[in-house]
Symmetry: C2
């Protein structure tokens, strides 16, 4: 380990390739002028961001949101995603789902199509629709899709468009996604392409969807040759994250969402990582207050990164830490065997391992990552039987490939720092893959993935 | 006829509905502040526009385009579509298809996927691809779709994505549409949704595609319940209209494209309308010089309207003159029986008839429209056997319906003026429909549509 190479500001930019990006807990001077959308031109420090979040919350309490939280509930937090005229709020609270007033505030026309699935519908659809209908003159329709990543396809998406057209929805209609990331991604793309752009609201009901998929406007479906290959960048009008809905979430789904929270800690926020090391069991126990904190921090980090780089020309790619390895794992097994967060967990361990082999991070970070993910009940190695050839083959069709060069998000520097780069010795990637398919893992551990 | 009602500036705005728009040959003062995209805030007069077009052409001759046109060919015209950082040029000329240098100037990455169909491929694909390959280090793939509006579907679109993924194209790849409007619309949407947005170039090979579908970024496919219901607004990086390709176009296809040129005259440009009355036979005879003039004027008009209102919040809707009636005709027969331009021709006659019945235009305009369209070999009544009930039913799922109210583009005032409005006596619409399904037509004519 060549720790001496790493200074405190070791985040690097690979100059020759214009889309390279780097992101660290501290504002990186080179991030200035990197924003193509023209919305913001410098990365706010964590300090500023914390202050901004607080301000938004205060404003809301006095103006936008219900001034008095429902008895016995915590006051909602609000994160603003700052994208010019496409900005929108994320409401994080305890009794939001039946507060139809918030949703209806963001509905433009008079027609609503709620898209959900066979698992979520029996739990929440009826009361949600009832609330909306009571709110006013909405015409509310719903469509219930089959549940599962394997149904995140164009074929199933067709059912949403069929329903919309049968219901004679016009282009001012609002599509509401009520469910996890699969429903959110599909509904967003359905809305984006419906008559070239209907409105869209996210009501995420999994941790994964609350901290990641519902924020930032990436929508789409899978193709047999790749995950999320067909889609659009399309922002919702608001996001409503209700802690109540997490009560019914299976343990394994809940835990897998925690991997993405760990990711925010690793790429950007050492304080969040420390907090998780102290509180991860509270999240597993669905403590609302702890959950709201973790979701608030995660959304705030993602919102800021997305505001800097909506279309993933640069820093947004850092959100893919562990995802290139993770997608290979998902693709090799067939979608839906491991959960997304589980694949990402193993992928982050591989990315950390590779970063360590490159001499870019201290072994401590690898160890803490493995320990935290284990406590979050996540796998820390790829599934047994997965081959090096599968990694090679699935990683090369991944979107991180640009003009033939594989680019990866890797950790570099102290906790909370990462880089997106194609500039590494390919042998080191091979070494990491070999170690993990042999189930040696980062720490020589032979733990099998926790897929229950 | 209550001609006294019509002053020279009779274009009207229906105040209660915010998306109402009106457009006339003269800049309408109310158009100022109507632009939502913020690109431009007032409509340029025809005068200005003519001057601007000329300037662009001069600049091009000296800088961008080949300075010396190929021996025996006319110098290319260039129309600029002004959409901020999504602006792009339309090249209109005689020997552009094999001038791979122009295309390659607008290609970003190194991968190109040419999308075409079984009719166009044998005519132009090989030499086009050869030219591109000779240009440089491009990896050029192609996919050949079945020909016909009935194949403008999600199912067929899938073939484009399959090919792109099998060829391992990344998100920097450029999709090139080589063909008519069907190929252009499908390829544009394929590019828009491929990895959430690949690049896109239009090489239109029909009059329809050159004057209309390749300009302005509307892309999409049909759904069994409606035309172009699934799609995106997605701008190409350039458009290449080569007169040579029109030589192989069947007479009926050529003629149907002229309907859209007539449309530009009716909604905006009385001079173009006059010019058509003098030169329509030259167009039917494929006179390159006349064709380039008509295409140049049409593109310039459409480009200006699109620049004012990219997302069809207002004036862009005027481009749908005759289209609501026309779509009903196409839908009632099943797509692909009549050509789009033919349906629009009959639709424009119906729109003119209705405008006359409302007392908004002089009977002269109806008569001139019918005569010009007849000379262009277009139908001027709906197909025999089509019922009033079919019109009613198909017009109400049309996108012009907003929150339940049917809005139509109608002529109002002197030639070159129109309005988009839902504010008319519904009985007048019924009268027009009745007259046309009884084949009385505007002038009591019993002409049957020219569908050969
Ligand atoms: N758009 C993005 O930026 C982005 C980011 C991350 C992940 N994703 C996508 O999100 C998907 C994964 O999301 P996910 O983890 O939410 O999976 P998911 O949507 O499949 O939901 C997980 C399971 O939980 C069920 N469920 C959802 N809410 C429930 C509730 N409240 N109670 C009980 N059961 C409930 C679902 O029906 C499903 O069976 C993947 O397709 C991934 O590609 C997208
Ligand atoms: N996007 C828009 O703004 C817009 C505007 C108008 C029309 N459109 C769409 O465009 C389509 C109609 O376009 P179109 O009229 O070009 O139809 P098309 O694409 O079907 O082409 C007409 C026929 O001509 C053939 N063809 C094309 N080029 C040829 C050539 N050079 N030589 C010989 N044959 C040739 C085609 O294969 C086809 O058989 C419709 O789907 C319509 O919805 C879109
Ligand atoms: Zn993820
Ligand atoms: Zn048309």
């Amino acid at each position: 380990m060549v720790a001496g190479e790493l200074g405190p500001c070791s985040a690097t930019l690979d100059r020759p390739v214009p889309t390279v990006a780097s992101f660290s807990g501290r504002p990186h001077p080179l991030l200035v002028h990197r924003n193509k959308s023209g919305c913001r031109v410098s990365a706010a420090s964590q300090q500023t961001r914390r202050v901004r979040a607080a301000t938004v919350q205060a404003q809301v309490a006095s103006a936008e949101a219900p001034a008095i939280p429902k008895p016995g509930t915590l006051p909602p937090k609000i994160v603003n995603v700052d994208l010019g005229d496409r900005s929108y709020p994320i409401y994080i609270g305890e009794a939001l789902l039946n507060d139809a007033e918030i949703v209806s505030r963001h509905v433009q026309g008079s027609q609503i199509l709620v898209v959900t699935n066979t698992t979520v519908a029996p739990l929440y659809l009826e009361s949600f629709v009832k609330g909306l209908r009571e709110q006013g003159a909405f015409k509310v329709e719903s469509v219930i899709l089959p549940d599962g990543e394997e149904h995140k396809s164009l074929q199933v998406l067709q059912q949403v468009w069929d329903k919309a057209l049968e219901s004679r929805l016009d282009r001012k209609a609002t599509f509401v996604a009520l469910g996890g990331g699969v429903i959110g991604d599909m509904t967003g793309f359905a809305a984006a392409a419906y008559q070239r752009g209907a409105s869209f609201i996210q009501v995420p009901t999994t941790v994964m969807a609350m901290v990641d998929s519902s924020v930032g406007g990436k929508t789409g479906v899978n193709h047999p040759l790749g995950k999320n290959m067909i889609g659009a960048f399309y922002q919702p009008r608001c996001v409503l994250a209700d802690m109540e809905t997490l009560k019914s979430l299976p343990d394994r789904e809940l835990a897998s969402g925690i991997s993405e929270i760990v990711k925010y800690g690793l790429i950007f926020d050492p304080e969040l990582f420390n907090w998780l090391e102290e509180n991860v069991e509270k999240l597993l126990n669905r403590d609302s207050k702890a959950m709201m904190h973790a979701i608030d921090r995660s959304c705030a980090i993602k919102a800021d990164i997305v505001a800097l780089d909506e279309r993933e020309g640069g820093v947004r790619a850092t959100l893919n830490l562990g995802h290139t390895f993770g997608h290979a794992i998902e693709a090799a097994q067939g979608y839906g065997v491991w959960l997304h967060g589980e694949a990402v967990a193993a992928g982050m361990v591989m990315a950390a391992d590779m970063s360590f082999r490159l001499g870019w991070i201290e072994p401590e970070i690898c160890k803490r990552t493995v320990e935290l993910l284990k406590r979050a009940k996540q796998p820390i190695t790829p599934p047994k039987g997965m081959t090096a050839e599968q990694f090679r083959s699935f990683m090369s069709v991944d979107k991180k490939v640009q003009d033939g060069k594989l680019r990866l998000v890797l950790l570099r520097g102290p906790l909370g720092n990462c880089t997106v780069t194609g500039d590494f010795d390919p042998q080191i990637l091979e070494d990491t893959i070999s170690a993990f398919v042999a189930h040696e893992g980062i720490s020589g551990s032979s733990d099998l993935p926790n897929t229950q």
